[in-house]
Symmetry: C3
Subunit: 138 residues, 3 copies
């Protein structure tokens, strides 16, 4: 049994979903685990993780629009010093995921046919985001 | 230290919560881990996982009704080719869990007294869903 | 490769966020893992886990107010025998996390600069909550 850790840096263009399945698959392939557990961790509180359909890009647009309605900038928040998009960003992050765990089977994460791994950027401006990947297994 | 992986197939009857705590306990018991980490992974983007109270079935009805209000079919979505229940299904999956991690203590997952493990089916029609179980420990 | 498990007891004062980053760091330091995976598990269905900003306490107030609006006591629920705050507590728990997984790097959980680990109490009255910590690595 062994483990491996890696930090990915992802550049976002402001609000929206950024798929990074490919980077995860590439790193995991280089580490040559045949079976194990992959953990993906987002080191931020105004961006988050999501596993969603990657077949139709409209799903991502609907997803983003939905979370903008669910935790709108137009609500009144006490925490507003960092701009009107900051507190809604924390709320949207709280409603989605900071960490994801995916079993590794046959050398690959056990993603379903239509599943992609996304970083969900909730701030209006572009950011550089740090994602930590951890794998344990053999 | 060792690990084990298993795929469960669950048949759903359309929208609603399906408890599968028993199947998880049975598999884990057969693998004879005394301590470790159990991960449960849903290979779908229109069904998800949830740990919730299993004492009163009304909780499950309220839960389902709530998510139908929170991400309603009546909203306007761009992604609608797969039917009016498809995009709300993705949203409800995004708001709940794709993966769950539970420590294993004394040979069992460390579930609280009232906790059950549920598959949350978000599509209107019955589906066959694949859940991957991974355990690591000793 | 080795593992360690520990149960934390946290006293809450009713609805609100209780930061317990410090207790997690202290336990993990005592176990002396240099690299690995930390899992945090909440054994309840009316309290949950959240990683959020710990710099400005206003974020926690806004967070709590938001979830009180999102799953309000004023809605009509079938499950009401345990009081008007019980079903909203289950819903707020379903919308946040029961488990969190954080890679361990350089002997510490890979938390971002502003990330704190919170127990989110959803019941109106004070409760004693059990959180299970699991670490695996070397």
């Amino acid at each position: 049994m062994r483990q491996a850790i890696h930090t990915l840096l992802l550049e976002t263009k402001g609000r929206g979903l950024v798929e990074f399945t490919h980077q995860v698959l590439r790193w995991l392939a280089s580490e040559k685990f045949s079976a194990g557990l992959l953990t993906i961790y987002c080191r931020h509180t105004s961006a988050s993780l999501l596993i969603q359909e990657n077949a139709d890009p409209d799903v991502q647009t609907d997803m983003q629009n939905y979370f903008e309605r669910l935790a709108p900038e137009s609500d009144v928040y006490i925490h507003s010093a960092e701009g009107p998009d900051d507190m809604p960003a924390h709320l949207r992050a709280a409603l989605t995921q900071t960490s994801l765990s995916i079993p590794i089977m046959d050398g690959r994460p056990a993603l379903g046919t239509w599943q992609g791994i996304y970083l969900f950027e909730h701030r209006a401006r572009p950011h550089r985001r740090e994602i930590v990947l951890h794998a344990i297994g053999e």
